[in-house]
């Protein structure tokens, strides 16, 4: 069977499975629609949370980012997992005890203020919508690359599938579909990683393979990689940080609290039966997430070594038409990568390189006209490497590799069977679809529950609200699809913004709502707005007002990264601290919250008396 047919079969089978589950899990009540009836067992909820959390970016791009950044890429690994510790002990159990459907509803009730709830709805919508644009484009990219249809057609098909199971199934349909999607995406990620780990180190567990010796030698894989990349003028893989140590510190912190504050993640903890289940379900979610996140650094380092090996025979690892081969003698010999015959002849390049050249994600330009590929850092500050490259007659780096290739081409590089390639296609789609569905649910519940029922039509019947939920979901899908088809110019910067907003506005507000009994509405609202505006100000200064090119105002803040060298992607953590400080300052000079609110906080802190989630206002 040829590759294209196999891909259609595997992807088609997974789609049929998702729709089948959706029909089985139709939602009949608002409680089922918003919170899956509050009855999802912790292990299953953990899997669904993991699928919800791991987006197309986690699946396709993260390993490539780490491969490029080396040690500094660890900030994504620690940041996107460490947030779950905060969720488990600071937010999830208390929000579950509170027993309502949405994050804005908690903020509105706790701070006894419609304004607070509306500010939260706005933050939620901005964070979720910016996030979903990336998912829809991800669906389009995965479809076009694997199914040979245009990216636009891919987005229409994706919209249709999400529509079917999200609109009819609500949170219940989404949750059970996400469990299936998790299984598909984790298999798709791990299978190629295991094959490559065996080929390079003989160890079938990638997490251990990364710390093992290269097959047939006593040289550890990371030592070899460090030596190869520094020889070629790149930074040392195991020690290169992301900007300054302070920037890496703040960036990690921002991702952690951003993760804990993202509404589509928090919402998952409303679906478990009780407070104890909310605690353990965060743990299960992290187990399932870490399965992918601890494999990613292995994929990153191995694929990087592999790529260098493919184009430079001095490395001692070759991927040719016969598969990947480790040449133990060459590994030990530390041959000269600048020798003429070390560089791969362009005509002799393996098939997978030819295939990816067609997509434009891999580009070769023969700058010195010798018909060989020279892949190195031509902007290096390493004088020794620079001198050697010049002496060898190298005229600049000749190979550009898009980071996404690291995961997508992995099975081809290792010459794995067609079904593995098909599985990776299905996995990429599962990752994008499951995250899109979770985000759509957060958006639709904020509109139908917090705006329609909370503000415009408080007396709406349950049936009416359920209908409003489905209609707003359908509209949200159309808007998300439209934005995916016509991505606004700012699409690239938006995910960082979503984390920044969640970190600087929602997380501190929820946390103070639980841990500070005396925090009043004036403090909370002022804090949220201060954190939000501080973050937006710093991001817009770098990237333009609402990401419109030409409206950057870096001179106002005194140049790029002027705040202690912190990049705009990392500023959310500082925004959160601004939020806390402003909130406590305003709280001090305004009157304390009413008695019944303080009682409510005391009650939320205690597990006993948790009831089914009902969302009543």
């Amino acid at each position: 069977m040829d590759l294209q047919t196999t891909i259609y079969l595997v992807v088609g089978a997974t789609f049929a499975l998702y729709i089948g589950i959706a029909i089985w899990a139709r939602a009949g009540s608002t409680s089922e629609y918003y919170a899956a009836g509050g009855s999802v067992p912790p292990v299953m909820n953990g899997m669904a949370t993991a699928a919800d959390w791991m987006s197309a970016a986690s699946f396709i791009s993260m390993a490539g980012l780490i491969a490029n950044m080396g040690y500094g890429g660890g900030l994504f690994l620690m940041g996107w997992t460490g947030g779950y510790v905060l969720l488990a002990c600071l937010l999830a159990p208390y929000l579950r005890k509170f027993g309502k459907f949405t994050v804005p509803q908690f903020i509105g009730d706790r701070f006894y203020s419609q304004t607070a709830s509306t500010v939260a709805v706005v933050c939620l919508l901005v964070a979720s919508i910016t996030y979903i644009i990336g998912q829809m484009t991800g669906v389009g990219v995965a479809f076009s690359r694997f199914l040979g249809v245009s990216s636009d057609t891919g987005i229409y098909v994706g919209m249709g599938i999400v529509f079917t199971y999200a609109v009819f199934g609500g949170m219940k349909g989404i949750t059970y579909t996400q469990v299936a999607q998790y299984v598909v995406l984790i298999c798709a990620y791990i299978v190629p990683a295991v094959f490559i780990s065996i080929a390079l180190t003989g160890v079938p567990v990638p997490q251990l393979g990364l710390g093992a010796n290269v097959t047939g030698t006593d040289v550890s894989l990371l030592t070899k990689l460090d030596q190869v990349v520094t020889d070629l003028g790149f930074g040392k893989y195991t020690t290169t940080t992301a900007g300054s140590t302070l920037n890496m510190f703040v960036y990690t912190f921002s991702l952690m609290i951003g993760t804990a504050g993202l509404p589509h993640v928090i919402m998952r903890f409303f679906t478990v039966p009780n407070v104890a289940a909310a605690r353990s379900s965060a743990g299960w979610a992290l187990v399932f997430i870490a399965l992918l996140y601890t494999t990613a650094p292995a994929v990153a380092a191995m694929a990087k070594l592999n790529l260098h090996g493919t184009v430079n025979s001095a490395v001692g690892i070759q991927s040719s038409s016969e598969g990947m081969k480790v040449h133990a003698e060459a590994i030990k010999a530390n041959a000269d990568p600048y020798a003429v015959e070390s560089s791969l002849q362009y005509e002799a390049r393996p098939d997978w390189m030819k295939r990816w050249e067609k997509t434009g994600l891999l580009k070769f330009e023969d700058k010195n006209g010798d018909g060989r590929i020279q892949y190195y850092n031509d902007k290096t500050k390493n004088e020794a490497a620079k001198a050697k490259a010049e002496a060898a007659g190298w005229k600049g780096n000749e190979l550009t590799v898009n980071a996404d290739i690291i995961v997508l081409a992995n099975p081809e590089i290792a010459l794995l069977p067609n079904w593995v390639i098909a599985l990776v296609a299905a996995g990429g789609l599962a990752a994008a679809l499951s995250t899109a569905a979770g985000l759509l649910m957060a958006i639709s519940s904020a509109i139908s529950h917090d705006l329609v029922k909370g503000v415009f039509a408080p007396n709406i019947s349950e049936k009416g609200e359920l209908m409003a939920g489905k209609i707003s979901m359908a509209c949200a899908i159309v808007v998300a699809g439209y934005l995916g088809l016509n991505p606004p110019g700012f699409a690239a910067g938006t995910v960082a913004l979503a984390f920044g907003i969640a970190a600087s506005s929602l997380f501190p507000a929820i946390m103070m709502g639980i841990f500070s009994k005396k925090m009043n509405k004036e403090g909370a609202i002022a804090g949220m707005l201060a954190g939000l505006f501080f973050t937006l100000f710093y991001v817009f200064a770098h990237k333009g007002i609402f990401f419109i090119k030409g409206t950057e105002f870096l001179n106002v803040i005194g140049g790029a990264n002027s705040f202690f060298g912190i990049t705009p992607e990392a500023i959310g953590g500082v925004g959160a601290i601004v939020n806390f400080i402003v909130a406590f300052a305003v709280d001090k000079v305004t009157k304390e919250p009413p008695e019944h609110i303080q009682h409510m906080v005391e009650n939320v802190r205690i597990p006993r008396g948790s009831k089914a989630v009902d969302g009543a206002h």
């Binding site: 460490g82 710390g211 205690i606």
Partner: protein
């Protein structure tokens, strides 16, 4: 609240546990993975430099263990102060 629970004692015990959890959370990621990574890289764990290992592997394993440990300890505290769910 129908029984006269020691609400303040319960909250104090809870905050104490959270402080311990967050201290370990901070030590493994921000500490071992970032601030002290350079120093720890002098030690190796198999083929891993230790600081790099904490940033790319170890902190995540500790996070998982932390959440389950927290869940178990919270369960104990809930029962001790008789505020657990039925």
């Amino acid at each position: 609240m129908q029984h006269n629970h020691d609400v303040q004692g319960y909250w104090k015990a809870t905050l104490g546990l959270i402080a311990k959890v967050l201290a370990i959370w901070f030590l493994v990621s921000f500490g071992a993975g970032i601030l002290f990574a350079d120093a720890l890289n002098g030690i190796s764990l198999g083929g891993y430099p230790l600081g790099f290992w904490f940033a790319h592997q170890g902190s995540m394993y500790v996070f998982i263990a932390l959440i389950f440990w927290y869940g178990k300890k919270m369960g104990d505290i809930d029962r001790e102060f008789d505020v657990h769910e039925d």
